[in-house]
């Protein structure tokens, strides 16, 4: 965390995670010179914060998955450039949060861990992305429902699961992403959380998240493997997923670990196209 951020915390004062969000925000601003955005005041007088928001990237601290702070940012048209969710950080650190609104030892420990992580990320060597040599330009079959267009790439090396995610397999590697069904249902994608570099993910495990004002979608990977690259362009421009989730909107590259086995539970273009059409019709009546 080297830049100066505008920090928007959740500030839910009736929940432990909210109280922790608030404390983290106060300390980031007090100790590291970031600028605070009060969620309560910005709701009625955002003018006060417009200058800060326009000059600094926005860091959002949600307390829990209700995501009030993120939703506020979306509502006010603030572009989120980084964020965390306290309850998720607690899970990662193996700390169980109670109903207490007091910051006792456990809560302080979590605050310490989160602040430490945040302050030190600027010192980490930036990961270089391996050039994987997977190039993506596909031919598509499309169908239209109302004003929505759904594309599915026609390619023998592209496999799908019934959870609307694809894998483009090339040698012992695969590029993964979501289909138009996901992208159209979420509508404008505002935030991308990549899977961790080097993580080993099982088939149907989660490989990153994308988020719109409507909801959060966890990418369910069609193939198991180790994450060797993530699409960093999406961190600044998550809307690339809306433009084309199969090409510039890809999510990650994996080194395959059990493809022969994974293949049993995957489908190709023909089946997926049928399934997607049925789902679109079911959802839209």
């Amino acid at each position: 965390m080297v830049e100066k951020y505008a920090v928007l915390p959740c500030n839910g004062l009736d929940k432990c995670a909210g109280v922790i969000s608030r404390e983290i925000a106060l300390r980031l601003c007090g100790e590291a010179g970031h600028e605070i955005i009060c969620p309560v005041f910005s709701r009625i007088a955002e003018v006060k914060y417009r200058k800060i928001i326009s000059e600094h990237p926005l860091f959002v601290i949600d307390g829990c998955p209700t995501r009030c702070a993120s939703k506020l940012a979306v509502e006010k048209n603030f572009k989120i450039s980084n964020k965390i969710t306290v309850t998720e950080e607690a899970k990662k650190s193996g700390i169980e949060l109670n109903d207490t609104l007091q910051l006792r030892e456990k809560e302080q420990a979590l605050i310490g861990i989160i602040l430490n992580d945040l302050m030190n990320t600027g010192n980490k060597v930036t990961q270089t992305i391996e050039e994987t040599g997977v190039s993506c330009h596909f031919d598509y079959e499309t169908f239209q429902k109302g004003k929505f267009l759904f594309r599915v790439p026609v390619n023998k090396e592209i496999f799908f699961n019934e959870n609307d995610c694809w894998a483009y397999v090339s040698g012992n590697r695969a590029r993964i992403g979501v289909t138009d069904f996901v992208q159209q249902n979420l509508s404008d994608i505002l935030f991308f959380t990549p899977p961790e570099m080097g993580a080993e993910i099982d088939q149907f495990g989660e490989a990153g998240e994308i988020e719109s004002s409507k909801s959060v979608f966890e990418l369910i990977t069609p193939v198991s493997g180790k994450v060797i690259a993530v699409n960093e362009a999406l961190i600044q421009k998550p809307e690339l997923i809306n433009e084309n989730p199969y090409e510039l909107g890809w999510i990650a590259d994996l080194e395959l670990t059990a493809f022969e086995n994974d293949k049993e539970l995957l489908i190709g273009f023909d089946k997926y196209f049928e399934i997607m059409k049925r789902k679109v019709n079911d959802l839209n009546g």
């Binding site: 019934e162 959870n163 149907f204 959060v216 979608f217 539970l265």
Partner: protein
Amino acid sequence: MSETTFMGVEREKIDWKPVIDYAKCNFCMECAKFCPHRVFEIRENEEIKLIVKNPFNCVVFCRACSKTCGPDALSFPDKNETSQMIREIRKEAENNG
């Protein structure tokens, strides 16, 4: 509207659904509002105001509604165990067919 099969396996043979922890749930109904598959049912006049009514409508491996749940009251089966189970059922069907 429910899928009848998932990966070629009868949906009703796959145990995949949200489980509500009523000790944590505050009946905010975010999950029910969110899920388009009518898995949940809201019961305004009952003490337990929310139940999992149509477990087989739940999309296997989806956990999306849990992301809307503030108090973390929704849990799901283990994904590895579930995919293992699907493989086994498929093998059995192959052997029998």
